[in-house]
């Protein structure tokens, strides 16, 4: 029987992949994708626990997470468009006017 621990391990791997993606990709769009990966990892956790507990709360929270992730993606993409208009680039590390 596959128990929740398996899912948690999978979710951990996915989460770390997303986290590393946020840190290593230069392209703002792929960074956004990596963020989505992290949110998916969380959802996997929530739903695995929801099943184990036979409790719907986890699934409901997962729905909220998906919705918020969608909203976040919309704002992120809006920022990308503004960035491209200003600097003609999507490379995240070229936004480095402020430092120190």
């Amino acid at each position: 029987m596959i128990d929740a621990t398996h899912y948690v391990v999978l979710s951990l791997i996915l989460f770390c992949l997303g986290l590393i993606g946020v840190m290593v990709r230069r392209n703002f769009i792929t960074v956004l994708m990596s963020l989505e990966l992290m949110f998916n990892a969380v959802n996997l956790n929530l739903i695995a626990f929801s099943f184990r507990l036979s409790d719907l709360a986890g699934q409901v929270l997962a729905i909220f997470v998906i919705t918020v992730a969608a909203a976040e993606a919309a704002i992120g993409l809006g920022l990308i468009i503004a960035l491209v208009r200003l600097k003609d680039t999507v490379a995240l590390d070229e936004a480095d006017v402020m430092r120190g």
């Binding site: 969380v42 956790n45 986890g58 929270l61």
Partner: protein
């Protein structure tokens, strides 16, 4: 759930509707500058405050409403009113600023109202789901506000950095929430608290969940090492937005922090205390020391705001009643001082451009003695010199920390607030002891903006009044404590 359940929720409903109306009204009203629509938004905030007084207060003791999603208590009321005051002041300060930069006020004001709605939910959430959703509503509104001046490189850059880091940190927070759900079996704060009280052994998965939630909260209050977004977001954002986000979101983040850690996870205090101790000490040291060599006032105030988060964290480390209400007190005090300080940055203009450099303050005492005196009050307050409110706030935090036996943390904070005087007084020295460069370039001038001036005056009066007469605020902050008995 009955219709009566909705009555204490009316302020939030009203605020949401008001946000929508302001958004729509901004289209026709916006042609005459941002002032009409901002006046409308401030009126809505005032009406919300009245509604809170009428229906939003707990009749007797904390009360769970709407499927146990929210709790109505004094604690939440305290933060809601604080948020309303801070937003109103920030909006009033923003009016002239937006007009000068020719950005519309409709979206701006409505975003602030929506952010306030999110903060209300954060302050009164009794379930991890509602807390999370409120937090995201606030965060998303603030991302947009930071990048609101989309044609300015700094504003966009600040928003990009804040957004990427904020989204990553909210994923971390969510991961922590999921682990707490997986180890306690519930999202309901009260159920979790009861479950934790029964856990006989220490569970690393649970501790990990608590730690990750703490990381998410530390990000929101801008504590080391999750402070990295702060200087850039604060510097880049339009200054009224900086004033707003350095105060209101930080205050409600502390509200949520307290509700979770002083309430729900209080049983595990011995486990997480060390974590916050380190974060608090590191934040105080980092914020104050890094601020020393800043030459941009907004950036300096950003580091100072990091440092202040460190002070307030001491109250959480203390983990006592005294510590809790000291944090409430400190947040209120800090709100007025910081809003006032940023208010002057909003008003200062140098050669047709925002006066953000420290040198722009040179010789201000001669040209604008009133303004310089006001800034002096805020700087004294932020540095914690009596008889300003800043001293009172720190005093209670120190008392709570020392009482809980964390002498070293108190010693670090006293030492660091001594260091802080140095950079706050760099501004004072500029204002009082230096002459502006009169020959080669025109010195920075204070704009005459009656709205912003009035808002700053309110902040100055509050800073002094709380310092001289803190008893009412203290009483009010203490009354918020009964809330934590619930969870």
């Amino acid at each position: 759930m009955s219709l009566a359940d909705f009555v204490p929720f009316l302020p939030e409903i009203f605020l949401g509707c008001a946000g929508f109306i302001v958004l729509l009204a901004g289209i026709p009203l916006g042609r005459r500058g941002s002032r009409p629509v901002i006046a409308l938004a401030v009126a809505a905030l005032a009406a919300t405050a009245v509604l809170i007084f009428l229906v939003g207060r707990p009749a007797a003791g904390p009360q769970l409403i709407l499927g146990d999603m929210l709790v109505v208590d004094q604690f939440a009321v305290f933060f809601k009113l604080l948020v309303l005051a801070a937003s109103a002041l920030a909006l009033v300060m923003a009016a002239g600023y937006l007009d000068r930069a020719q950005y519309s006020g409709g979206e701006f004001a409505s975003l602030i109202l929506f952010a306030d709605l999110g903060m209300f939910i954060m302050a009164s959430g009794a379930n991890l789901a509602s807390l999370y959703v409120g937090l995201e509503l606030m965060a998303l509104s603030v991302y947009v506000l930071v990048g609101y001046f989309k044609l300015e490189v700094k504003s966009n850059e600040g928003a990009v950095k804040y957004f990427v880091l904020g989204a990553a940190s909210s994923a971390i927070l969510l991961y922590g929430i999921s682990l707490i759900y997986g180890t306690t079996g519930s999202l309901d704060l009260e159920t979790i608290r009861v479950t934790l009280a029964e856990v006989p052994h220490q569970n690393f998965l649970l501790l990990l969940g608590i730690a990750l939630v703490a990381f998410g909260m530390l990000f929101k209050v801008a504590a080391v090492p999750f402070h990295v977004w702060t200087p850039d977001a604060y510097e880049g954002a339009p200054t009224p937005v900086t004033a707003f986000i350095s105060v209101a979101p930080k205050a409600v983040a502390f509200a949520m922090f307290l509700r979770l850690f002083a309430g729900t996870f209080a049983g595990e205090v011995e486990h997480w205390r060390m974590l916050l101790w380190i974060a608090s000490a590191a934040t105080m040291i980092y914020g104050n020391v890094a601020a020393l060599t800043q030459i941009n006032v907004k950036r300096m105030l950003a580091y100072s705001s990091i440092a202040h988060a460190g002070y307030a964290l001491m109250g959480l480390v203390a983990g006592s009643d005294a510590g809790t209400w000291a944090v409430l007190m400190y947040m209120a005090v800090y709100a007025f001082m910081n809003l006032g300080a940023f208010g002057f940055v909003i008003l200062l203009e140098s050669r047709g451009y925002a006066g953000e450099r420290i040198e722009d303050f040179a010789g201000l005492a001669r040209r604008h003695p009133g303004a310089a005196a006001g800034m002096l009050i805020f700087m004294l307050g932020l540095a914690g010199i009596p008889p300003t409110a800043g001293f009172m706030g720190k005093l209670y935090l120190w008392a709570a920390t020392v009482e809980a036996g964390y002498i070293w943390l108190a010693v670090i904070s006293v030492l660091m607030s001594a260091v802080s005087l140095y950079y706050y007084f760099r501004l004072v020295v500029q204002m009082y002891l230096k002459e502006g460069d009169a020959e080669d370039e025109s010195p920075a001038e204070m704009l005459s903006d009656r709205w912003a001036g009035a808002a700053i005056a309110v902040c100055a009066v509050m800073t002094l009044a709380i310092g001289l007469w803190p008893a009412p605020l203290v009483g009010w902050a203490k009354s918020g404590l009964s809330a934590l008995g619930l969870v």
